[in-house]
């Protein structure tokens, strides 16, 4: 009886200690993630400016469906996503396979150099890219000196080229980041698998598609999901390179939410509605990517 009681109290004490270790973190995540999400949900059913908000039911959601600016922002973000993420992932994979060769010289140098863009802040590199791609910027000057183009390209002021500039910028910043994940995964693949394949007469292209890609599938899935989430949240680059312009040609969804809340008259209710569209997109796209990768 006594021993039993003691056992219970020790277990209770252990349980209490366990919970106390995780308490602060759990409370902080509830306070700064889950509670705001709930508040955003409630806000999305309210309209008004600043602090004067009142319930208006589905009106924000109805507005969302006919909002041309939102459609533009959504289209822009989708373009970045569909073009940039695959380019970056293929590029990162390609580079990491080249770098995984043990007989390669200057491996460390190449790896460090290609990873280097990741140490810059999004703001700093955006400002640098804005000047590099300016109408009289270094990129145009160099392209003209090399006679690749005869007149300067309007990288930032033309709707088409402005999107390309953003895509180039993001690719520059994040390819090395993804490469690191592939490199460490490649190092975990047993070399004997490749040796066996070579003995069987498999070419390096066959080896890439039959061994490397299947072995890297979980990492490719991970990087494509994180890149998708990252692109859906795109903000710093667009604001600092193009300000969302020309017109709204480069406006991202995050920037639109920012504009709705902090740039024009604060429309918090509608901004919250737009923000739920990103949450929905992230959930749908993540599920889709899991399905495509064939995992549950």
């Amino acid at each position: 009886m006594r021993a039993d009681k003691q056992g219970v109290s020790i277990r209770a004490k252990n349980a209490f200690t366990g919970w106390s270790f995780i308490l602060v973190a759990v409370l902080m995540i509830i306070a700064f993630y889950f509670y705001p999400m709930l508040e955003a949900l409630i806000l999305s059913f309210k309209t008004g400016t600043g602090a004067n908000l009142s319930f208006t039911g589905w009106s924000n959601y109805e507005r969302l469906l006919t909002d041309k600016t939102f459609l533009t922002a959504l289209t822009n973000t989708s373009i970045y996503l569909i073009i940039q993420v695959p380019i970056m992932i293929v590029l990162a994979l390609f580079i990491s396979v080249l770098l995984n060769d043990n007989t390669l010289k200057f491996k460390g140098f190449f790896r460090t150099a290609i990873f280097l863009p990741c140490v810059t802040s999004l703001v700093a590199y955006s400002v640098v890219f804005k000047y590099l791609f300016g109408i009289n910027g270094l990129v145009n000057t160099m392209l003209m000196k090399l006679s690749i183009i005869s007149a300067p390209i309007e990288w930032i002021t033309d709707p088409f080229w402005a999107k390309i500039t953003i895509i180039i910028a993001i690719t520059w910043r994040w390819t090395g980041y993804n490469m690191i994940f592939y490199l460490s995964a490649l190092q975990n693949i047993d070399n004997s698998i490749y040796e066996a394949a070579r003995i069987d007469g498999a070419s390096s292209v066959t080896q890439f598609f039959k061994i490397t890609i299947p072995m890297l599938k979980p990492i490719i899935l991970f990087t494509s999901i994180t890149s998708t989430i990252g692109t859906l949240q795109l903000f710093d680059e667009v604001l600092n390179i193009t300000k969302g312009g020309p017109g709204n040609a480069t406006l991202s969804i995050s920037q639109y939410i920012y504009n709705l809340s902090f740039k024009y008259t604060a429309d918090f209710g509608y901004a919250a509605t737009v923000s739920y569209s990103i949450v929905l997109l992230i959930v749908v796209l993540s599920i889709l990517q899991f399905k495509v990768a064939g995992e549950k």
Partner: protein, 273 residues
């Protein structure tokens, strides 16, 4: 075979050059006059000192650096403390209920910041009335939402799996309390994990832009990314000066990266292994 080799080196060299070039350009430009930067001068100049003087005279660089340093260092210390306590707690004191809580926490990784910025801003605006010390335009408001992330808890939980459980038992037999075991045994054994987590947190805190942009309003509270963004938005930009500011802003994270490259890579990839 030979052709393939040449192609490999050529491709990697071009990629490396493209990656490094913007860095070379900002460092070179920081030593040149604004006019020379626009002319596309690619040689080091003699205007470094002048640019530096002008930068100190016309901007609050010192204040911004100090603000960024305070916020990043404090955030890093608190973040790795809370996240490692939680990661250790989830792994060492396992229970069904805690696994459920852990999985719910992980869901927060799917929440984009864009969805949080409006409610968070309103939250801190409300706090401002009751407790101005942690309300809008304070260091605390910048830090609070960024200190705890599910990613970092996940990272520490994964690493705790490698921490031998026997050491917890040994500590208990020696009469250490659970907190004692955590601070005296777990922390020293997991030094590399702490280093990696610290680097990642410091970098993201130092480079954070959107939330400080919303929550900080007075110029004297400004952090480095806000200062840079502000310098870059002018109509008659002084390129040499801006490039120097960018070099200075990038220096701390670049240094941290070079000094601790191994931990940094380990930290990034450790999370998916």
């Amino acid at each position: 075979m030979k052709v393939k080799r040449i192609f490999t080196y050529l491709f990697l060299s071009i990629t490396a050059l493209v990656s490094i070039f913007p860095f070379l350009w900002i460092v070179i430009s920081a030593t040149n006059k604004s006019v020379d930067v626009t002319k596309g001068r690619l040689l080091p100049g003699t205007y470094l000192v002048e640019n530096f003087k002008k930068l100190l005279d016309t901007t609050d660089l010192g204040t911004a650096l100090w603000n960024s340093a305070k916020i990043s260092i404090l955030t890093t210390i608190l973040a790795i403390l809370f996240a490692s306590l939680a990661g250790y707690g989830f792994e060492i004191f396992r229970s069904k209920m805690k696994d459920v809580v852990f999985n719910i926490l992980l869901l927060s990784m799917m929440i984009p910041f864009a969805a949080l910025m409006v409610p968070l801003y309103r939250m801190f605006a409300r706090i401002s009335n009751a407790a101005p010390m942690i309300g809008i335009d304070t260091m605390a408001a910048v830090m609070l939402p960024t200190i705890t992330t599910a990613f970092l808890i996940f990272f520490f939980r994964q690493s705790s799996k490698m921490f031998p459980k026997d050491m917890v038992e040994a500590g208990r037999i020696d009469g250490l309390s659970d907190l004692g075991i955590f601070f005296k045994i777990f922390m020293p054994t997991m030094k590399t994990t702490y280093a990696a987590a610290g680097i990642i947190t410091f970098m993201s805190s130092w480079n954070n832009y959107l939330w400080p942009l919303i929550v900080l309003q007075s110029p004297q509270q400004r952090t480095i990314p806000l200062l840079i963004s502000n310098l870059g938005s002018g109509y008659a930009p002084d390129y040499g000066l801006i490039m120097l500011a960018i070099v200075i802003a990038t220096l701390p994270t670049a240094l941290v990266f070079f000094l601790m490259q191994k931990h940094f890579v380990a930290g990034m990839t450790g999370s998916v292994k």
